[in-house]
Symmetry: C2
Subunit: 143 residues, 2 copies
DNA sequence: ACCTCCTGTAAATTTTAATATTACACCTAT
DNA sequence: ATAGGTGTAATATTAAAATTTACAGGAGGT
């Protein structure tokens, strides 16, 4: 099990943008170098963040900027921008249980209750973390 | 992102065992039919559950039984039996950020704080759900 | 003692999802 | 016009999950 690394790369990009976008033109190839990922991956991540209103970019120019204050950006916002309804499919479920068995017939319905709870809790947990605290952590580590 | 379907299959098996093990000899091929999975998958799941002390099985016979009361089995116990330190690697992290960049150099350390929090919260959430409530849910759906 | 059905694993294969690459039309500043 | 960038689709590569095949051994019936 794993959550794709998009989220980590996005946080990397957001920290980078927050730190340096006032000094240099932040482009996807610059972020690609810093993260070690492919520029196309970066562009698709930036595209998701842009559509979610988290950053702004200038077509043909680059110049990525935060579109919100770091304290108004939650980890959930970021995660959701990259994997819409990723939480809905948190747990894999076996697709073809026997419909002739009482358990098999109802397992999907039964699992919904516990999985909904987990999903809701995880969403709250992700929402509780904001970009500003991660940026603060970055400054702490630097010094 | 996804958590492998092992967890769902395990819950299916545990409900099945709880309901029917007093009446029939629950074997891996019976569970394979009910879940729609391969018997080998079932055996590897049962093997994990057995090592975690959640069920007992008889080599060469089958006869899977719950080894604990359903109220003493949490979803975390089950998850952990199947994917030891799955939570530790919840989030994928890009492997080769540029060490020449202040962000790239420290990103792993910085991400540890938020990811630890999420992991801890998720663990608590998984622990809060016990097998008895899922079995109750099954009975509710049946009637 | 032997046969049958089962377990428990290992190893190889298939399938599926994630990541990377290639390609290209279009934007913008110089 | 051109150089360097974006945005996105399509394809390939890689890595992980799930299945299948294979086989040595346990337990119980006859």
């Amino acid at each position: 099990m794993h959550i794709s690394q998009k989220c980590s790369v996005a946080l990397h990009c957001l920290i980078f943008i927050n730190e340096y976008s006032s000094d240099v033109n932040v482009t996807s190839s610059l972020l690609a170098k810093s993260t070690g990922c492919n520029p196309v991956i970066i562009r698709s991540i930036l595209s998701g963040l842009r559509k979610a209103g988290i950053i702004s970019t200038q077509s043909g120019v680059g110049n990525a900027q935060l579109a919100k204050k770091p304290e108004d950006i939650t980890l959930y916002d970021i995660y959701n921008a990259l994997e819409p309804d990723g939480l809905r499919n948190l747990f894999g479920i076996h697709a073809s249980p026997a419909s002739t068995c009482p358990v098999g017939k109802n397992i999907h319905t039964v699992l919904q209750m516990p999985y909904d709870i987990i999903q809701k809790d995880l969403m709250a947990s992700l929402t509780s973390i904001r970009l500003d605290s991660i940026i603060k952590q970055f400054h702490d580590v630097l010094s």
